[in-house]
Symmetry: D2
Subunit: 378 residues, 4 copies
């Protein structure tokens, strides 16, 4: 059943994921409306009938009908995240609905709008939101079952020529980016922005450590640089460090040949890092606790692999840093990011652009660890 919304309570990595949010039912009910009426138009869509990326194939399906509050969007680009690969491989504990369409981040052009739609008109360029129900302020969900209702997961994915979602699930695309660049904002861009700006209130002169050179990391580098921070990038690749320096990093630390904590001390006159984008996770957190400055901030960002994080309690107490997990962010912050991208001229780093038919190759690239983002253009 295409596009239907699952409504399940499944364990995931030891915690339960809330899927019974209002949008599920709303969306489900509207999707029922889509079927049966508009039979005239066809589209291509990547989907799979079972867990395992080898099952992924292109299907011909009808363009969905829209409900009164929906918009129909013609996809122009889809940006892949490492998480897309994990879901295809393992399902990540989510009770997916098959055929399952992967991917969460897209840009597109509005083709049609329901009669109750007020925020968009046909022809508008839009991007998707990663966690549709979260508009602003506190996140949905509760202590037992955190919200994890995202596109390309509990909600349908976007690796399709057309998608039909409630208008609330979209945001106007930045004017200054092309379709491929715009598609990188909803997850990778927003995660870095939410950590550094919305939560971190980064300011000029702060010293920021960015771990790695993946999609979130390079957004972190660019956003921190844009705000006047001094950026230190760590990587195990000398070549990637050079490219990071070219992007504006003040310093690169080779994790293989250097003790990165000692280097951070040396580079900051023992001050430490005001903010660390902790992407490694696991026991690496202990190193970040050593490297952080008093009253600093560690944003834990990483794939959902069920890792333990651990570290010594002494620096946690004596330096009193804020340690916060960051799981993307809300729609208002994505709108802020879009505005900032246009006004500061930030250009997302795309390692390689693939064609719609090359989705498998694009996923393989994601698996190898790109420098920035991997995007599929339509």
């Amino acid at each position: 059943m295409l596009h239907s919304i699952v409504s399940v309570q499944e364990p995931m990595m030891g915690i339960l994921i809330a899927t019974g949010d209002p949008f599920s039912t709303l969306c489900s009910f509207q999707h029922n409306n889509w079927k049966g009426t508009n039979m005239s138009k066809w589209m291509q869509e990547w989907s799979t009938e079972a867990v395992g990326p080898h099952n992924l194939k292109i299907e011909e399906r009808r363009v969905p009908e829209i409900g009164d509050l929906d918009v129909l969007v013609r996809t122009t680009a889809v940006s892949l995240n490492y998480r897309d690969k994990l879901i295809l491989e393992s399902g990540m504990g989510l009770d997916l609905t098959f055929p399952f369409v992967p991917a969460s981040d897209m840009s597109g052009v509005v083709e049609a709008v329901g009669k109750g739609v007020t925020r968009f008109r046909p022809g508008d360029r839009v991007i998707s939101t990663f966690a549709p129900g979260w508009l602003d302020g506190l996140r949905p969900g509760n202590g037992r079952t955190p919200a994890y209702a995202t596109l390309g997961g509990v909600h349908p994915g976007v690796l399709s020529e057309y998608v039909a979602f409630p208008e609330d699930w979209f945001v106007a695309a930045p004017k200054s980016l092309d379709a491929a660049e715009a598609s990188t904002l909803p997850c990778a861009g927003l995660t870095a922005w939410f950590a550094l700006i919305e939560k971190g209130h980064l300011k000029p002169g702060d010293r920021v450590v960015v771990q790695g050179t993946g999609g979130v990391a390079l957004f972190g580098l660019q956003i921190a640089k844009a705000v006047g921070a001094e950026v230190i990038v760590t990587s195990s690749s000398r070549e990637k460090l050079e490219k990071a320096l070219a992007l504006g990093a003040a310093h690169g630390i080779n994790r293989l040949s250097e003790d990165w904590v000692e280097r951070v001390y040396a580079l900051t006159g023992d001050h430490g890092a005001d903010h660390i984008l902790e992407i490694a996770g696991g026991a690496g957190l202990g190193q970040s606790l050593k490297a952080v400055a008093p009253d600093g901030r560690i944003s834990v960002i990483g794939v959902l692999e069920g890792f333990e994080v651990s570290g010594a309690v002494a620096p946690l107490l004596l330096k009193s840093p804020v340690l916060q997990g960051i799981s993307v962010g809300h729609r208002r912050a994505l709108e802020d990011l879009v505005g900032a991208v246009d006004r500061i001229g930030l250009k997302p780093v795309i390692d390689k652009r693939y064609k719609f038919t090359e989705a498998r190759e694009a996923l393989a690239h994601v698996d190898r660890g790109p420098f920035g983002k991997v995007v599929i253009e339509f």
Copy 2:
């Protein structure tokens, strides 16, 4: 050498402790002034010549002279912390100066003031500050060497009939508390206040989990209750839980017979805890990450035992709680606490009051795990 100030850089639990802060030298230089002039008056003081609590004994020493910016305070009560026991037993990696006088938290009456003193006059009732150099705002120290210059550690202790310190190291005592009660605020009281109020902005209706019934925990219970929060206390003692309920806790959870995380879900309708005073540390953090509400806060408070903290990354990411180590707090927050104590009528919980000569018995009580605080009255 009595009251002299160490100035060292020693490793402690894998991290270095900054002791070379401005106050050390200032104090050191002033302490030199104390000697030699006022030879007329004698006092009693607990001190030790070596690590090991059995070495602790009462000595007769001269009342110290004061410098121009110092006040001489006659001690009226000393409140003990578990940390005092640890330092006596192991030194906690600090390069102590012997004879070493233990304890950090005291109340007293100003006997004399230096000619540059403006904040106090003889007869004023005062309490000490735990970390003298930290007046307001960000904490001193840097990433490599966090500040840990406290009384009864790098700075001299207070288990003495008289102390002479810079006026900046004291705060006016609350009017509504007796000497013993007032002496409990500088470390235990301020730690709970700093976590819940200064950093946590607790509000009416919030659900707060307090782990245990020690000094910080019961202050946490009382402060959270005072602000209109619903307090859940965990303990392994049925008797202590009953006493906590009598103090205003809404619920008690017996850690031995119940799964406290499940109980928190049940008591909050799955919402989880808005704030957890995490005192256990170690792997207990993982449980707190399960119990916390989305956008909640976990304040890690605990003795400096070099414990690892650890927990699953999934709830850290998906619920995005703030996790922050709390190491006491600054003087301005202590002044706020003093004002609050007077205006809301908060009475610290003292498990038992000991005489000056019973310091060993008092320390042994601390070791057994009191319900609230253990205080020595002078």
Copy 3:
């Protein structure tokens, strides 16, 4: 046309009010659905065909039909605000749709739900939200045209036996309050909460000045008291001051016989007020700027009378208080308030309860300046 939604751009007191928000159109389109199908049931409703409170009369109308995302609520109580009187008298510059149903704050019981509704079921006790479109985080609207789409204004009012609105416009009622008490939260209760707690982060021991003894003021008194603050109430009535003291105020200042600023200095040892609920407005702001403590906060709360606020710039600069206008608050904060009310046992102060047929008398009471709230019970 009953319940239709205006969509206008009208000047109001020199600024424009945004009414073209998404909800207007959505609601309008759904209301069209209500008509024509459910003709079987009748209800009574206060409405007017023209500005002027004398035009207000009870009409018999059909119970509205609900759309897929709506709930039908049987009203159990309506709480009046001074603003309701102003709108009836002058329209307040809003382009109202006639027949116009007044009032914004209600409690009720869900009678029926649309098929897309997930948050409520028939039988649930609910209260309305004052500004339906504002769920959490930043307020809607823009610099030129602030959002002012409220019930009993641009949106339909609630002085009716039944209302049918989108489920998003309601919040679960507190369990501990009766219908009349619950109806006072959406505007008066939330305004005080938003100022003191959501924005003000009030803490135990803070000194709060509450001006007057109207609905917002008494909620301010009770909420500030609940959080452990010391509350100072100002009034021109000795009798009302005595009642305020009985409610928990620490001090009452008679504005007619005392200089309230000097009294605040005297009562706080010259500290000043940490937070002032500025309800008078106008030149009174200058007095509040004198009375406020350094780094304090003045929440300007008042009816929309186009008043100028003014005050001397010197205390504004030298004490650097935050001065913020508060116009009710978002739904999430209302949910926080409901939770707090249940957990701390706060009972709203109702000066008098009227019957449905006594709406004119109730409005006249509002005009005379009640002690707390005036409520109409159904």
Copy 4:
């Protein structure tokens, strides 16, 4: 009496200024130490025996002695503020000590240090702090008598070849600025930084309105630009607007020929300004309330002329902006600014550099309204 510290309680513009802060006495007592011992060295100093700038003249005086906690600094540059002119003309209600040495902002080189000094060594380049007693966190003073103990006011001024102050009154100078540039940070630079960054948490993409092109305004422009904000400058001079655009402003508005509020609406798509540096004061605040975005911020910055601020209450309520007076800032923020200046390469704008003997001409330039700062080089 040179350099002695007044200790008075005088009315100023309707409010009282606290001068009895701890530092006064401390400093006074130390200054007594300076006299009598070091008679060997002479210096030149601008001072006046009475209010009125025509009384200002160069005197030959002994280089002051330093106390144990003081540093002796050889002045290399002094930056003038409009406030210096006002104090010379009227005394601004402050009970000045004559001979009075004007000016608060300087850079210099440490010549000698007292034996208790730990933060500086001879040869260090330093800058002064404007309000010496305020190290971090909340400002000193109380509601009745705000703190206004600044250099060149209640404390001695710096228009002198040497100054001797406690080490706490200085901050390390930025490495990337020359002496004249560095001298502009303590008041003008810090005011803009404190408003936009410390309090305002400005972020990339925010729209900032800066009123005018004086010293604070141009720092505001440069800091906002550095953080990725879009800066709109208003001025009555076409020539100055062109220079502001060259400095990085996105837009200039000529206040004489344009309605600046309407232009801000037009430039921001009706969004309004996220932050306004309100320097005009007075009734201009009403315009800023119109121009500000919902949930925006207006920082009121201006000379202490006893102006009333005023504005309509409707936008204050409906847009709920934060309005905050900003009176320079604390030492920790100045240290943050120094770090930022070095790391982002910010170069203060100096309209003209004068020689030590040209102090009168420099003050006259300040009176005419410079583009940026006026500095006296030694």
